[in-house]
């Protein structure tokens, strides 16, 4: 991505999202509710996968807690919306609710990140997995957010425009970051932590930064999800959700933003298109993933490494 082109792409993405949103929601040209819903699902998946890619792909830290951050953001945003405008009369609070959700998730990322990033590999994976479960169990026992029966009646604020505008923003932030001299630090940590440290890169700080930024966007995605489904339940944020996002990152080719975006879309649409096979759906989905992993272990979209600056 060229330097001057980066911001232009962001604007283009947001403009497209706005136009798409207008047409999608206007009754005469609109998609039907089902397709609209699935498209928004895909947009949310893009935000989740691209943000996890910063942690797992670019920085090389294996996190299994993304659903936990998503839950923090989702419940925070939903609770704020319910308090401020229970009947959906104050749409202005939506961006603020999303932001608050993202920020709280980022704080959670910081709290989890600082102690656990001294761990590596499998250990880090287990700690983040544990964190995700703690969030889920905590929510399950909090009556103020509906406990096990879930949080109902969240106003429907999430539109195609919001979703893809924020997806474009997420992609921009992560790509711009990773392609800058600052961001080379993340990849250096991924490639060789010892060498990175002795090149003057404070590796712990970079890892925590990746966690905080990744968690922030997971929180935003959670907020969008809450105002899309209008219902949140703790079971929606179990560790299988985290695994889903990890699969998107792996399938897209760790560290390849374009591949990860494509994988997020495909893995959202695939289970939907397999609905026809009803009871065989999960089996065929798993088989497809196993096959892909066997045939393209480097990721579906990881082409030969390009030379030059861009990656």
């Amino acid at each position: 991505m060229s330097r001057s082109g980066a911001k232009r792409w962001l604007l283009l993405g947001i403009a497209l999202a706005a136009v798409a949103s207008y047409f999608a929601h206007s009754p005469e040209l609109g998609l039907n509710r089902y397709y609209l819903g699935v498209t928004i699902d895909a947009g949310i998946a893009i935000i989740l996968a691209v943000s996890l890619n910063l942690i797992n792909g670019h920085t090389g830290q294996f996190s299994l807690g993304h659903a936990g951050f998503m839950a923090v953001g989702g419940y925070t945003a939903a609770k704020i919306s319910l308090l401020v405008s229970p009947a959906g009369e104050a749409a202005w609070c939506f961006p603020l609710a999303l932001l608050a959700g993202g920020l709280l998730a980022a704080v959670a990322g910081l709290l989890v990140g600082i102690p656990s990033l001294r761990l590596r590999g499998d250990y880090l994976a287990i700690v983040t997995l544990g964190f995700g479960e703690i969030i889920r169990v905590a929510v399950q026992n909090m009556d103020s957010v509906g406990a096990a029966s879930g949080l109902k009646g969240i106003p429907k604020y999430t539109t195609l425009g919001w979703t893809f505008g924020l997806a474009a923003f997420t992609i921009y932030v992560i790509t711009a970051l990773v392609n800058s001299t600052y961001g080379r630090g993340f990849i250096a940590v991924h490639d060789d932590e010892v060498a990175a440290e002795s090149m003057g890169i404070p590796t712990t700080r970079y890892k925590v930064t990746a966690f905080v930024i990744g968690a922030f966007f997971a929180g935003i995605a959670g907020g969008l999800y809450a105002h899309h489904k209008q219902f949140l339940s703790p079971t929606g944020f179990d560790f299988l959700k985290s695994i889903d996002i990890v699969v998107m990152v792996i399938l897209g080719g760790m560290g390849r933003t374009a591949g990860v975006v494509a994988a997020a879309v495909i893995l959202t649409l695939l289970p939907e298109s397999l609905r026809a096979f009803a009871e065989y759906r999960m089996i065929s989905y798993s088989l497809l993933i196993i096959l892909l992993m066997m045939l393209r272990p480097q990721g579906l979209f990881a082409f030969s490494r390009k030379s030059g600056g861009a990656r």
Binding site: S180, T181, D191, D192, A196, S198, M199, G255, G308
Partner: protein, 265 residues
């Protein structure tokens, strides 16, 4: 002469019952080229790891530019001006030659995370400065043609050279080279010796060199310290070291040492 750039005072490190480096005292002055030699397992790389903050000394002290380095992390020491290469090359495997050096300019970039996102003027001029510096380094060390290639796809000798260039990108005052000649053929070794002298003279930095190849060490070092079983057994000019009975003993065994001493005496 003013205080030395690097000063080890009785630096000791123990791993359990094993004393890997024992009461090691030495100095490196500004713009001096010092060699550190010794048989396998003598503690040379451990000494490097002490100086660069990978390990903390069990006792004794290390000063760099007058400052005690205890408790500082490797990245903080790099900030103070210590750079290093590794015995087994550790380049950033997924990056190009260009980006390997760019990543090492981190501590001198002036723009932060928000500039990288906003990409305003500060970012653009900062990034331009970094790129110019990287290109300059690539040209000086004639790696500019390979700048787009994956670092790990370079020939062995070039990878060693790139590691030295990457270390220089941190603008060090002291450069530690851990067996830079390992695995090189005689021609490459000659090139390396020229390169090390060139680096020292051009950037006016001090170099501490761990090396097994005696020709390289004797050829370029102004002073040599010898370690055996973690202890310093000798220190002096290359000529003194070559004749030092303890050094000969350590390298060739006691019997040979006495044999060789006899006709000279």
């Amino acid at each position: 002469m003013s205080a030395p750039l690097l000063q080890l005072e009785e630096a000791t490190i123990q791993f359990g019952g094993l004393t890997a480096v024992s009461a090691f005292t030495t100095t490196v002055a500004d713009n001096e080229l010092v060699g550190l030699i010794g048989p396998n397992g003598a503690g040379k790389t451990t000494a490097f790891n002490l100086i660069t903050g990978v390990y903390q000394p069990t006792s004794g002290s290390i000063r760099f530019a007058g400052q005690l380095t205890a408790g500082l992390k490797p990245s903080q020491l790099t900030r103070l001006g210590i750079a290093r290469t590794f015995q087994n090359i550790r380049l950033f495997g997924s990056m190009s030659v260009f980006d390997n050096i760019r990543a090492a300019t981190q501590l001198h970039r002036r723009h932060g995370i928000l500039d990288a996102l906003w990409r305003g003027r500060a970012y653009r001029t900062g990034e331009q400065d970094v790129e110019n510096r990287v290109m300059e380094l690539l040209e000086i060390f004639s790696l500019e043609k390979q700048r787009g290639e994956l670092a790990t796809s370079l020939p062995y000798g070039d990878q060693r050279r790139l590691e030295i260039v990457r270390a220089l990108a941190t603008k060090p005052r002291l450069l530690l080279l851990d067996e830079p000649a390992a695995g090189m053929n005689p021609t490459e070794k000659d090139d390396l010796m020229r390169l090390i002298r060139f680096v020292k003279d051009r950037y006016q930095i001090a170099v501490l060199l761990v090396e097994h190849d005696m020709k390289v060490v004797m050829g370029i070092c102004q002073r040599i310290a010898v370690l055996e079983y973690g202890r310093k057994i000798a220190e002096g000019s290359p000529l003194e070291i070559q004749r030092h009975p303890k050094v000969i003993e350590a390298y060739l065994g006691a019997a040979v040492a006495t044999e060789k001493e006899a006709p000279d005496a």
